[in-house]
Symmetry: C2
Subunit: 479 residues, 2 copies
């Protein structure tokens, strides 16, 4: 068996060649060479037999001219030319090839034959192949931005974070990047699209992220899991150590078929996979938006949190609106969480800030007290509620208006840090104050959402993961 | 029995008094008088015994001085003073009192006694009472903006629309206003918070909106439905005629109890209500965000749409990303929709724009064709798909980048209008282009969302309502 490199050769290569680099703007081969020159600090070698130089950098006719110089070759040439490029790569001692070109197994016929030839090259030589048919990968430390979609100033725009992102679908992963990462919805450690999985597959990437010290939580969108047993093993190993949330598409016959035509992979038996994910303590979702929302929660605070109660599933709701409190209860109970029965001493203390006519309870409807005492009410109420030994986590439902400017973030933040309990917040009202509110809370690791459903989802995930971590510490069952 | 006015006296009064008006900024009584003077075109009478004039308008010591002049009195004085104000109102011939003050049945004890006295006055005199304990109501034509929360330039900011909004929770309704209406998320015909329902209740308001020619669809957040039979009757009457989506809080014991303390109403037997809503063809939801998303869909196009097939439940998915297509299938199938089996002629026609290696199917993965032919691909593909006799509706999943500028909205829009089928769109990618994409589609009645779940929810609601309308026309069962 030839020696085979690990995924560091993709995520942290010592040098990079871009095969199919072109100075023609708008082409993918331009996007890649631009992105790499702009984002990556090691030596870069454009490869294109028709060019002397590209973007001011000397260009080589083939990888063969770069013998011993290249660790990672990023390949973006027509499918029919890829096998030859890979043979050149082997010849040049390249360790890893990120093949972003499409037109392989996913198109059937000739593409399938090309795919088989590439696989053969990889098996025989030990050359690692990522893809084909993928949009590439991103590492924020050390930095490399390898997708073919042009992104200016990637280093400035993609801030290092603790979240790992795995997507099987190229366009979708690109969408994740563009929409969520670039917009600052969350920060990321590593993000990648795995494509056709000719060699590197979802299990190897997940295992890599499970071991990566810079990745503290992982979200994944997968159309197929080929080796359920191996996937389960990694997921189990992560349980209670790093949160894992997964969309596994293809629940239905039609979607499984669509997944097959899209990335040439079988969707596997959905029920087996569902059970395996649950057993391993992973969170399975259906919606990208949910996945992004959990990604935000885990990127801000991966957990685990301190748990107050044995069941570790009891929440308090602090709200400025009774209606939102009622709706939150319905959603929290649907998700299996309990509404904490507050301690007598908490209720007594709340009585001091509540008006006479209003007995405190859970949900803690803070509005009348807030009207009387202003924003300090939040400090007093949250101090009491966070200190309550029957409360494992808090869902905060405030109103955004100019009083947000006076919100006592620091004081409440210190209480949060003191108790180590999770808090998530919905915000509604005047959207001009949302950004301020969110940024101030994010500093304390509190995710802020504009829908209650996302709050409930995040709190449930925080508590589940914290329970799994406690179980692991005590040697009990995970999940 | 005394004669009792209808709800026109609240939504379209000939004259308005504001009892508790004050020139002190920041107070609710300032908010109301400001809002009314700024938004309402009829005569306005501030009432406050301690003032000569407020905001330049002559002020009266009591409603009694305004005998015969006032149709609607908006009341914002301490609870203990409300019965006397109502007696003054009766004396002055006022037809309707909108009581925004809190401190009644929802606080128990003394408040309950005050509430009973108000009820007695209403019963005996015929004076209609809205509230108490509510944030008010809004009508966009004729315009009146009555909440106590100050909103500058309400007439300019709240555009008339076709959606009616009913909320039981005051703060929440205010939140709806602030966040969704003011931000332009949707336009509204009438919006209101019903509060403690001392006299006017959810059934009467819903019936009013069901009959209001300017309201073509209704979304409602209710914590309780007191007279299930009457509610069901109105909902049934609306089935197939005006879409109705409802959040009915209090599914669980804890939330039912919280609803009780919040608006002094019993949550009713949840299962009975659930069944009744379903029978009446109403859509029941749990999450505000979902309710807002359906509100947007119905405000843009209330339906009903033309239905192509007998089952009227078959969708086509046109996507630039296979992954999103797979996820959409999973969610659509979960909601009970079918993935249309496209006609042979549609597939043949698609073959012309698809590359050779890619056989067209549903989802219609448009990316490779788009890469070859540019934005015109959308026209060709959507023309074929909309014309397909097996397709009842289309979910469009495009990518936002600068090509949005060239998107053929008009051409596709004409096809949409020609076929009368519903289309909804998700958008992802570069958020700078979202607004443009959304505005251009909204002109054709196509709602645009940033999560697929919302698309699926809206399409499902469109098709359900269109089926109910077809049933009604053919005299069959509704729902």
């Amino acid at each position: 068996m030839p020696e085979r490199a690990g995924l560091d050769s993709f995520f942290a290569p010592a040098s990079v060649a871009v095969v199919g680099a072109t100075p023609t703007e708008g082409k993918g081969g331009y996007g890649i060479i631009h992105n790499i020159l702009d984002s990556y600090e090691g030596p870069v070698y454009p490869v294109n037999p028709g060019r002397e130089e590209i973007l001011g950098v000397k260009c080589y006719p083939s990888l063969r001219e770069l013998k011993g110089k290249v660790e990672l070759a990023i390949v973006f040439v027509p499918a029919a030319m890829v096998p030859e490029v890979l043979e050149d790569a082997v010849e040049a001692g390249v360790k890893a090839a990120l093949v972003e070109s499409g037109g392989f197994a996913e198109v059937g016929g000739e593409g399938k034959l090309l795919s088989d030839r590439c696989k053969e090259i990889s098996d025989k030589s030990g050359l690692r192949i990522w893809g084909p048919n993928c949009t590439g990968l991103v590492n924020t430390d050390p930095f490399i931005f390898a997708p073919f979609m042009l992104l200016r100033k990637a280093r400035e725009r993609l801030k290092p974070g603790r979240l790992g992102i795995i997507s099987q679908s190229g366009m979708l992963a690109a969408g994740f990047m563009m929409q969520y990462v670039i917009s600052g919805f969350f920060t990321t450690s590593k993000a990648c699209a795995i494509g056709n999985k000719l060699d590197v597959d979802e299990v190897e990437v997940l295992r890599y992220m499970a071991e990566d010290p810079k990745t503290e939580a992982v979200i994944a969108y997968l159309e197929s899991i080929d080796d359920g047993r191996a996937f389960l093993e990694v997921a189990r190993e992560m349980a209670g150590r790093k949160p894992l949330a997964v969309i596994k598409g293809g629940r239905y016959e039609e979607s499984a078929r669509a997944a097959l035509s899209h990335t040439a992979s079988l969707a596997g038996s959905d029920k087996v996979i569902d059970g395996a994910l649950r057993q391993a303590g992973a969170i399975r979702l259906d919606d990208f938006h949910d996945l992004m929302n959990l990604g935000k929660a885990f990127s801000l605070h991966p957990g685990p949190f301190k748990l107050a109660t044995e069941e570790a599933n009891n929440i308090a709701i602090v709200t400025v609106t009774g209606g939102a409190g009622v709706a939150t209860i319905d959603m929290a109970r649907s998700s299996g969480m309990n509404i904490a029965d507050l301690e007598e001493k908490t209720l007594e203390s709340l009585t001091k800030v509540f008006p006479d006519w209003m007995p405190p309870g859970n949900p803690v409807d803070i509005w009348p007290a807030f009207e009387q005492h202003g924003t300090d009410t939040f400090v007093e109420v949250l101090r009491d509620v966070l200190a309550d030994a029957r409360v494992d986590g808090v869902i905060l439902l405030p109103f955004a208006d100019r009083t947000v400017e006076y919100f006592p973030f620091d004081k409440v933040g210190r209480e949060l840090e003191k108790h180590g309990k999770p808090m998530v917040s919905w915000i509604f009202g005047d959207i001009r104050y949302f950004k301020l509110f969110e940024e101030c809370w994010n500093e304390f690791g509190v995710p802020v959402y504009t829908d209650i459903r996302a709050c409930v989802l995040a709190m449930d995930a925080y508590l589940r993961f914290s329970r799994a971590a406690r179980s692991k510490r005590s040697g009990g069952p995970t999940g």
